[in-house]
């Protein structure tokens, strides 16, 4: 069955199909279709919807629901995500699964409500206090946004970690046909650590406070080995035309769609242009760059920001190739023509 849905609605429906039974959120543009959809769809599916009094309350409700063992999620947009960072740090520190959608808008500050990719650092580097990383998924189409919700809840449960779906406001708002899953894929991962009442077992405690000497270091070491496993197993990317590319575009989300149009235009002229599209931003798909830099290539990173993913590309390339950048922010979106122009310049130089 195909349904015409906005990215926001598709992510909400995907979450329900993935077995999410708790949603708490606070209105902020451009993600308002998610709480609106959840407000009727979640009770219909037998779950809990709460319009929280703030983003702080919403993320801490997700903390509570997850501690109680259910699949829980919240959503917000950039300024609201800043508010949620403390809670995400607690979720990471307490080793709880959670799914958080960020439909990015322009910043800093209250910014505007135009699409943006300026929260890349915040999402991939931790965002709150302490040594942690959420897993960060970056869909580029409405269908992929829907499909990735299943992946998000599974990753969150398997690794007991917060997972962020990072999209820009355009993907949240755009409407595209979505193939709706007909097979119900519910959570099957056991959670013996969850708070359910201590009948027949020793009490469970959910905590991130560890005062005993060495105890917090021990938990940090568990987190780090978890992150190492995630980096090894969970890198995902899509690539195009890498075999003979002289210039490789790097972009994610909506930006990757625009980059693809530019690439196709140049390829039609016989120019050798390829694309790497990270589908998961943390762990960053270093493997793609290790492979690509075996040949003589140049990279052009394109973002709706002033160069955030650029830093991870440079780390992955590790000096083996030239990495150039083109980006706009604050509501500015790099156009197909601007990208084409930049590549022509690179090919000349």
């Amino acid at each position: 069955m195909k349904r015409l849905m906005s990215g926001n609605e598709a992510m909400a429906e995907g979450a329900i199909q993935a077995g999410c039974s708790f949603y708490a959120g606070y209105p902020i543009t451009p993600q308002n279709e998610i709480p609106a959809y959840m407000s009727w769809r979640m009770p219909e599916a037998g779950g809990v919807f709460i319009q929280a009094e703030s983003e702080l309350a919403a993320i801490n409700m997700v903390f509570g629901a997850s501690a109680a063992g259910v699949r829980a999620m919240t959503s917000s947009s950039s300024p609201g995500m800043s508010l949620k960072q403390e809670g995400i740090s607690y979720i990471a520190g307490s080793r709880l699964p959670a799914v958080i959608v960020n439909v990015m808008r322009g910043g800093p500050g209250l910014g505007n409500i135009a699409p943006s990719q300026s929260d890349y650092f915040q999402a991939t580097k931790g965002g709150g206090h302490g040594d942690y990383h959420p897993i960060v998924l970056a869909p580029a189409t409405v269908q992929e946004a829907y499909d990735m919700m299943f992946k998000a809840f599974d990753l969150a449960d398997i690794y007991r970690t917060p997972v962020i779906i990072l999209v820009d406001g355009m993907l949240g708002q755009v409407m595209e046909p979505v193939q709706i899953s007909t097979v119900s894929r519910k959570a099957s991962i056991k959670k013996p650590w969850a708070l359910t009442g201590c009948a027949g077992r020793e009490p469970n405690i959910i905590r991130s406070l560890l005062l005993k000497e060495g105890a917090l270091e021990e938990v940090n070491n568990i987190l780090q080995s978890n992150y190492a496993a995630i980096q090894k197993k969970e890198q995902r990317y899509e690539d195009s035309n890498l075999n003979d590319a002289k210039i490789i575009l790097v972009a994610y989300g909506t930006m990757a769609r625009i980059a693809k149009v530019a690439m196709n235009k140049l390829c039609k002229e016989g120019l050798k242009v390829g694309l790497i599209r990270p589908m998961i931003l943390w762990p960053f798909p270093e493997q793609a760059f290790i492979k690509a830099t075996k040949k003589k290539v140049k990279f052009l990173v394109v973002e709706m920001s002033y160069g955030q993913m650029l830093e991870d590309v440079r780390l992955a390339v590790n000096g083996k190739a030239v990495v150039e950048f083109f980006g706009r922010a604050g509501g500015g979106i790099p156009s197909e023509d601007e990208i084409v122009g930049k590549i022509r310049k690179m090919l000349r130089g």
Partner: protein, 242 residues
């Protein structure tokens, strides 16, 4: 001869980190006694605050979660909604419930969440070294009001229980104290009522407990109880508020 008073099962047999004469130890025990008497230990999910009682889960013998400072009632709301068959309560101090967490407190109460709240009011921040709390009395000396709380710069003691009583979602609010064995027994009855309300599905119930902090009041444990009786309870009158 019968053993008529012993450690409740819901209280682990360990020493606490609390200072001599601190009211937290009494309040922890009362909560544990009530839970044992109601036979609900295996259904309990407790939320510990940030403050002196931050590691209450090391002392209680049932399922517990921490919460970020002030967010206990957001965490509790979600746990109770996700698992309505469990009995969920928060245990929070004055800074946690009435300063940084005022928003969560008011909105959980106003939604009429079927929760039990044990609110410890000792008029000071204990964990961080005795700073002014929202409930600090006018003229009371603290680490951040060394000449005494001055209403011109710090305003008045916050009577959050009276504020909450106005909300339609709130079922039960009572203020009690730990100033004598008699008051302690009244406190226990109030805590029991607050849990019974949740079992009966009656809605949001809160017990505010005036509790001694000898260390940051600069008084002996005995003087602290007298201060609650003679001074603090004048500002925060005891009894059923709703």
């Amino acid at each position: 001869m019968d053993n008529i008073f012993t450690r409740p099962k819901s209280l682990r047999d360990v020493s606490t980190h609390y200072c001599p004469g601190c009211g937290h130890g009494i309040a922890h025990r009362l909560v544990a006694e009530v839970i044992d008497e109601l036979g609900i230990r295996e259904k309990i999910i407790a939320i510990a605050p940030v403050g002196c009682a931050v590691i209450a889960y090391d002392y209680w013998n049932f399922d517990c979660s921490e919460a970020a400072h002030g967010r206990a009632l957001a965490v509790a709301t979600a746990i109770k909604r996700a698992r309505p068959q469990n009995i969920v309560f928060t245990y929070q101090g004055d800074g946690d419930l009435a300063a940084i967490g005022t928003n969560e407190t008011i909105h959980a109460a106003n939604r009429g969440e079927n929760l039990t709240v044990v609110f410890i009011n000792n008029a000071v921040y204990g964990m961080t070294g005795g700073q002014m709390a929202p409930t600090t009395l006018v003229g009371q000396r603290t680490a951040t009001t060394i000449a005494g709380r001055d209403i011109k710069t710090h305003g008045y003691p916050l009577k959050i229980s009276e504020m909450l009583a106005y909300l339609a979602g709130v079922k039960y609010i009572e203020r009690t104290s730990l100033s004598s064995p008699q008051e302690i027994l009244k406190t226990k009855r109030a805590i029991k009522q607050a849990f019974q309300n949740q079992i009966d599905g009656a809605g949001f119930s809160l017990v505010e407990i005036l509790s001694p902090c000898p260390t940051y009041w600069g008084l002996s444990p005995k003087q602290s109880l007298e201060w609650i009786r003679d001074v603090m309870a004048k500002e925060f009158p005891l009894g059923r508020i709703k």
